[in-house]
Amino acid sequence: MIISPDKRDFSTILNVLGKLILGLSFFMLIPLLVAILKEEISPFFDFLIGFSVSVSLGLFLLVAFPEKKEVGWIHAFFTVSMGWLIFSLLGAIPLYLSSHFLSFIDAWFESMSGFATTGLILIQDLDHLSSAHNTWRHLTMFIGGQGIILASLSILTKARPVALGFYIGEARNEKILPNVVATARFIWKVSFIYLILGVATFFAILYKQGIAIDKSFLHALWLFFAAFDTGGFAPQAQNIAYYHSFNLEIATMIFMILGAINFNLHFWLWTKSKAEIFKNFEVKTFLFTTITLSIIIYFAFSRAQEASFMFRKGFYQLISAHSGCGFTNLLAGEINRFPSLGLISVIFAMMIGGGICSTTGGIKLMRLGIIFKTFFMEVKRKIMPSRAVYKDTFHHLQDLILSDKRIKEAYVFFAMFLFVYVAGALVAMGLGYPPLPALFESVSATANVGLSMGITNPAMPVILKLVYIFQMWAGRLEFISIFVSLGLVVTLFKK
């Protein structure tokens, strides 16, 4: 039997959305403060408008739609999927007012790209953007990477059973602590510790390069948001290439990888056993895929004699793609001249992504590992006597049996991601783009990476902008909460 929502359900959903919008609007006070400190007058008004609209909408929903039912899982899923859409629209308001976007859709694209930690950009003249707007662009990645709803959950005073619904709705499949609110708070705690470490590291590098102290601090903060939350935005049009710093490239790689690691593994390493890093299934899968793809990249780039070319051009993009970050040290069009084999490696790295319960997108290491393991398990089964019962195991914080449920889940997500990757590529091809760049861009949007072969630009067709917005949104939430929401809407129309 399918649950059919009524008016009271929607009233409850809108009420919860109102609360969450209020939460989001307070994040807009941060760029507002930056605008005041940096004496940026026009941006101050942009954020004042954005803040006022968000608070007004949040309060209106609270006043007009009372919570008429106990919040359940269905409400949570619907709230999450709708919440991300509304947040990206509200987040686009100050961006659009900056006059750095050709249309509101472009600003919405940028906002969704930030919240979904993708990093694809449609902004124009980025080098002249205000500090307040840059703070907001990068902050959206931090909010989105941590989970917008998670941000709200962590400030709830008591744990409600439905919190798990919000948590899973935002594509987090594992609890770290028994209580979801405690889990949310732990994720924030870990992130803040890395924030201090990351900002200090980036600041030291940038300040040593001769960048002014206040600018070094802001750039360090923004780059941390983009690296750890695997977002990929940067405050300059050349992205990481602007800084011409090998040290910064190494540092960003470290924080990209840290961001791509399962938060559960962070918890385990911090509080329980350091040895877990050598046994963990996701880490092993990551090493296997990285080494394999690096070898392919090596052969693809074999024409370049020096290893440093390989490292800066190939390996950096590979790690950026694999972690789902999207930072690049290449100039415009350089990636288009990658050998086909190199490009395919980067596409595969983007498709896979990082750990479950991390800030990355894509199929995820755990699922890919399970698919590999299932294949070998089936081969072993065929070799064994027909009566033998064989179950494979893997180690993720503890020894786990490779159950049918896990295998089914891995294949379902694998199929969904593959379908959306291909569908997005077909749309772009239908609009006249060549197959490889079309696939590259589609994977980059769905897996929330942000590397681009140039299709993503303000002049691209509006329909493709909307398709990529959908892909970023669906990819970040891993489809389920969106499909549940669509199902609910359909049942409403069937009534």
Partner: protein
Amino acid sequence: MHIKNKIKKKAGFNVGLLLLLFLNQASAYGQVASLADILNHPDRFNERRIEIEGEIIGELLKADKGLWINISSADQSMGVFLFDKEAVGAISHWGRYKVRGDRVKIEGVFYKDCPLHHVMDIHLDRLEVLEQGRVLEDSVPLFKVDLSIVFFVICLTMAIIYFIKLKHGTRT
């Protein structure tokens, strides 16, 4: 006489050929190009002396054995490496928010895969400021002020309604 004329003609042809070759060489040595041209066809310009024009962006960045500047033109940007700080002494405005950077002409050698830095870059020979940049006025369009007042009033009204409703709800 006939042979003399023939020799003269041949010599003239050879001189013409040499001149043509020289001119061809000269055009390849110091090509004026746009950043977009260079980025789209790096092989054509690789290890050649080029001239580009654009806006100076950001700041002077220190490197191991020199310095970096960034130049931007028509939505394309590139790093320019230099050994001596004096080469950029004439720059008065560096492009950033509220500042339009100096428009400069860069002369240097373009490297598709720079053997020193392992990236695509230009090694500076000479920099000339073509047009001084300027500090832009941070003017606020009137519609923004009006909009912010309208929405701020709506926001306050909603807050009052919400708190009245909250108070009323708590009492009942």
